[in-house]
Symmetry: C2
DNA sequence: CTGAATAATAGAAATTTTTTCTGTAATTAT
DNA sequence: ATAATTACAGAAAAAATTTCTATTATTCAG
């Protein structure tokens, strides 16, 4: 049921490069293809592996600006949270959105072409939401680290 | 040189599911296998596609706590930034780290098992850094949205 | 225009990979 | 102890990727 050391090794490999062949992975964990194949299918079936994706280069795509954004909602209106969650789900520029403890409500990660595009997004998509009380934006100057790889002890 | 509508369509598909076969993608963009194969290789070669990874379920792995963390460095010490960047690169718990404009210096995304594990990480890895002047942590209560998919107009 | 050069495409062949199948060894449970 | 389950290896079958060949579009210089 619980992934053993070999399973974790396989997950680690797949987190780094999902294009490794089963044969290559088998060699690295000192097994034949069959058990490696079966283990990966099992990890998928049991939900440890959620999906396989490709990661694109945002610079190449002209998405030169990354913005983190703190948002406070109007808590008087009880529909605020649902409304806001729903809206954010529809916005392709918002890559991450979570409710956080502390002095504000939401933290958003937003990707756009440039400052102008952000301003437009801000005016037309964020500030128009009735549920939004206050927004403060932080522009990313440089990305020191960015990974999707979860630590596997 | 620049990706056309078909290339963008392929990138979009691969961002959502990197396990689609060339045949399946070919059907969706109304082409045969060859051009789709060539286009994808070209997107990889030119750096639009950076890598293929699998995304794991952090809950399943017991990583139940996500923390965003603002850090201010001691700017008197000019080696501060290099030291800090280097240190963060070595920490598997830190998934993202960037330099931001505004009232603090760094924004970090950190994944750990629980509050206790975070406290341990905080004490043993963050606060010990001589370059760190101030830290404030925000615990994620709920993830409304989380995607690696960049918008492709 | 026109013809040469380049780029994009389709279809088929070759290669590689994934998946399935069969059987054996190891482990677990009763 | 023995039956049942699980993990594994090797081989066969199926499917996918990659390469090859040839044709059709497109671009560009004269």
């Amino acid at each position: 049921m619980n992934p053993d050391a070999t399973d974790r090794q396989l997950m680690k490999l797949l987190q780094q490069n999902a294009q490794l062949t089963i044969k290559e992975m088998a060699a690295r964990v000192n097994l034949s293809v069959t058990p490696v194949h079966d283990r990966i299918r099992k990890l998928e079936k049991e939900g440890y592996i959620e999906r396989y994706v490709c990661l694109l280069n945002r610079r190449k795509l002209g998405k030169n600006l990354l913005v983190y954004c703190n948002i406070t909602l109007d808590k008087q209106r009880k529909e605020s949270f649902e409304e806001f969650n729903e809206a954010v789900g529809q916005m392709p520029e918002v890559l991450e959105c979570c409710v956080v403890s502390g002095s504000f409500d939401y933290l958003l990660k937003i990707v756009v072409d440039d400052v102008e595009a952000y301003n437009q997004f801000y005016q037309q998509n964020l500030s128009v939401l009735k549920s939004v009380l206050h927004i403060s934006s932080f522009f990313v100057m440089s990305q020191v680290k960015s990974t999707t790889e979860l630590p596997l002890e």
